[in-house]
């Protein structure tokens, strides 16, 4: 029985491990924030807020849809106070009664936020608008594409990756196709999107892949296998550009689309007052300037002094409610008409 001491030690540590999670719980001044992982959140933005307000932000980075699934199953006793998601997912969350309105809660800065960024009567708010159009590899594509029509050029055969319709950013190629098919301004194209599928089908020879895994596509894009990527938003493209990756965002003449980065209070979440403080701070003009610089996105607070290095063109803000209502149908159409061989 020479092994007795280590075995007992193992047993003790096993018991310790089992007990550990219960012990670590219960620290008062902190909130859980859920949302998709993104550069700048946990390394720049959150530390700034934590320093300023003296509470701890615990961030759970997950795909929005999985986050929604978790919120739904935790409905009875939410652990999350604030959720950061795209509007189409927030609409689903609202319909399932998982978030609570910001109106009437203690968020003074909300008043200064532009109206398009307070959807559904301030059920949630957009804390910034990342821009999405065409991401191009600067080594392979010397001059930035000036029109979405460029993507249809045969010289890009097998050189384009399109994001799956299951991901919100896929709205950009759909709108672009609709614009090209109908000639209507980009801002009106969402409601006509069903007419764009024909044109999108014509893009098929140029499509190398339809991805559900943007990081992998981004890697191929940066390494030059893929010339155009339709379309990650500026949070990715311009961030990677700042990291010396050979990619850049084009600003086609038809317009650049505002992606909806929303933030909402979870219904019944713990420490709601900290959650409100958190959202208020996100909307604070100073923080908004930091957000603009860090996330390469348009601030939504009208009082924000735009950081000079960020010169995004005016963005087209979409009716995400309409998008959410039609998305399932579009997913099915996209899958069967564009993706299927």
């Amino acid at each position: 029985m020479t092994f007795a001491p280590p075995r007992r030690l193992l047993l003790q540590s096993a018991v310790g491990l089992l007990a550990a999670p219960a012990v670590v719980r219960a620290q008062p001044r902190e909130i859980f924030v859920g949302g998709p992982a993104s550069p700048g959140l946990t390394d720049i933005l959150f530390p700034a807020i934590e320093r300023k307000h003296g509470f701890k932000i615990l961030f759970e980075g997950t795909n929005s849809l999985i986050n929604l699934e978790k919120m739904r199953s935790n409905r009875a006793r939410p652990t999350m106070t604030v959720t950061m998601m795209d509007d189409p997912v927030l609409i689903l969350a609202e319909r399932e009664g998982l978030i609570t309105t910001l109106k009437g809660t203690d968020i003074p800065n909300l008043a200064d936020v532009q109206p398009e960024a307070r959807p559904r009567d301030a059920m949630w708010t957009n804390w910034c608008f990342p821009a999405a159009s065409i991401s191009y590899n600067t080594r392979n594509v010397r001059t930035a594409p000036t029109s979405y029509a460029d993507c249809w050029d045969r010289k890009y055969r097998d050189k384009i990756i399109v994001i799956s319709m299951r991901i919100t950013q896929a709205v950009v190629p759909l709108l672009a196709a609709t614009q090209l098919a109908t000639g209507k301004p980009l801002s009106e194209c969402l409601k006509l999107a069903d007419e764009g599928f024909g044109k999108l089908r014509e893009l098929r020879p140029n499509i190398l892949q339809i991805t559900t895994n943007p990081p992998q596509a981004q890697q191929l894009h940066e390494s030059g296998e893929v010339d155009l990527f339709l379309s990650p938003d500026s949070r990715t493209t311009l961030f990677r550009k700042s990291q010396r990756a050979p990619v850049d965002l084009a600003y086609p003449k038809e317009g650049t689309v505002a992606m909806p980065a929303g933030v909402a209070l979870v219904k019944g979440g713990p420490n709601p007052e900290l959650g409100m403080k958190f959202i208020d701070e996100l909307l604070n003009p100073e923080t908004q300037a930091l957000i603009g610089r860090t996330f390469f996105s348009k601030p939504t607070n009208t009082k924000t002094v735009m950081p000079s290095e960020l010169n995004l063109p005016p963005l087209v803000v979409l009716d995400w409610e309409y998008f959410a209502d039609n998305r399932n149908r579009w997913i099915e159409r996209f899958e069967r008409e564009i993706a299927a061989r």
């Binding site: 895994n213 191929l220 390494s223 399932n328």
Partner: protein, 284 residues
């Protein structure tokens, strides 16, 4: 191997040892699964089979099921063709060489598919290793597209699941009496006859184990095909992901899951029956 049910006159006390595991799996695995499958037949107004009707009545989904089976079968066949002879060479290796070879077969299992998919990108790209090699060997004149093709999908799937084929066959072959093929030779059996009548039947338990495990893993794979091919090659798992997460259509997702489970169970039970029939001659 296992006691046939017909002989079970009375329950051996040892049978109760199965209870903790069975109860655990029933509670933690079966119950959630049944709960989910229950939602496949629960409509707004009671019982409905509309989820199944939508899966089985839609040519597109039938095609997806076909594609999924095709992918799983090609993966299984490819892994078998490459893995079967490799298992023999592995079993034949001696001493430290065998340890190293075994480790080399095992090591890839421990690397995540996400990393591998990045690696495949490097290998298959237009200016990737494979194109470079073929250009320099004069096999091709211009780089050819390989990434995100069906070829790449099959190759990647076989790559991920190949160790699960090699190792069970290896463990059976290693136990095989090397004198049996010799005995067959002295009885006048040509190498081919020896292989088909002695070596192959004796290695079949390993083959059946490998085939059933690779097939079940491949037919249910989600991350691997979506990384290697994306939406261009929809599989049943990807439809389920879409149904549960995007469409929030539990009827569709659960019905698809039920169909997948049924197909996989049929294959695995079939393999088990085959294995038992092959095993009857072995006795205990």
């Amino acid at each position: 191997m296992m006691a046939p049910a017909s002989k079970a006159q009375k329950l051996d006390p040892l049978a109760y040892l199965a209870l903790p595991g069975l109860i655990f799996m029933a509670l933690v695995f079966l119950a959630p699964l049944l709960l989910m499958l229950w939602s496949s037949i629960r409509g707004a107004d009671g019982f409905t089979l509309s989820g199944y009707a939508r899966v089985l009545g839609d040519d597109y989904y039938i095609q997806v099921i076909g594609q999924t089976l095709q992918l799983a079968l090609i993966t299984t066949a490819g892994a078998l063709i490459l893995g079967y002879p490799a298992a023999f060479a592995l079993a034949r290796a001696k001493g430290w060489r065998q340890v190293v070879l075994f480790a080399l077969v095992f090591l890839p299992l421990t690397v995540s598919i996400i990393v591998k998919s990045f690696g495949w990108g490097i290998v298959l790209r237009r200016d990737g290793i494979l194109n470079w090699l073929m250009l320099n060997l004069g096999l091709i004149e211009r780089p050819i597209r390989m990434i995100f093709t069906e070829f790449a999908l099959y190759a990647g799937m076989i790559n991920v699941f190949l160790p699960f084929m090699v190792l069970p066959i290896y463990s059976v072959v290693r136990m095989m009496d090397p004198r049996l093929p010799d005995a067959a030779a002295t009885l006048g059996a040509s190498p081919w006859f020896r292989f088909t009548r002695v070596t192959l039947p004796l290695s079949l338990p390993g083959v059946v184990a490998g085939v059933s495990i690779v097939f079940s893993l491949a037919v249910a794979a989600y991350v691997t095909p979506s990384l290697l091919m994306g939406d261009r090659y929809m599989t049943m798992s990807m439809v389920m992901a879409k149904a549960f997460l995007n469409l929030r259509d539990w009827q569709l997702g659960a019905a698809m899951a039920a169909v997948l489970m049924t197909l996989a169970v049929v294959v695995v039970i079939g393999a088990a029956i085959l294995q038992r029939r092959l095993g009857t001659a072995k006795g205990s």
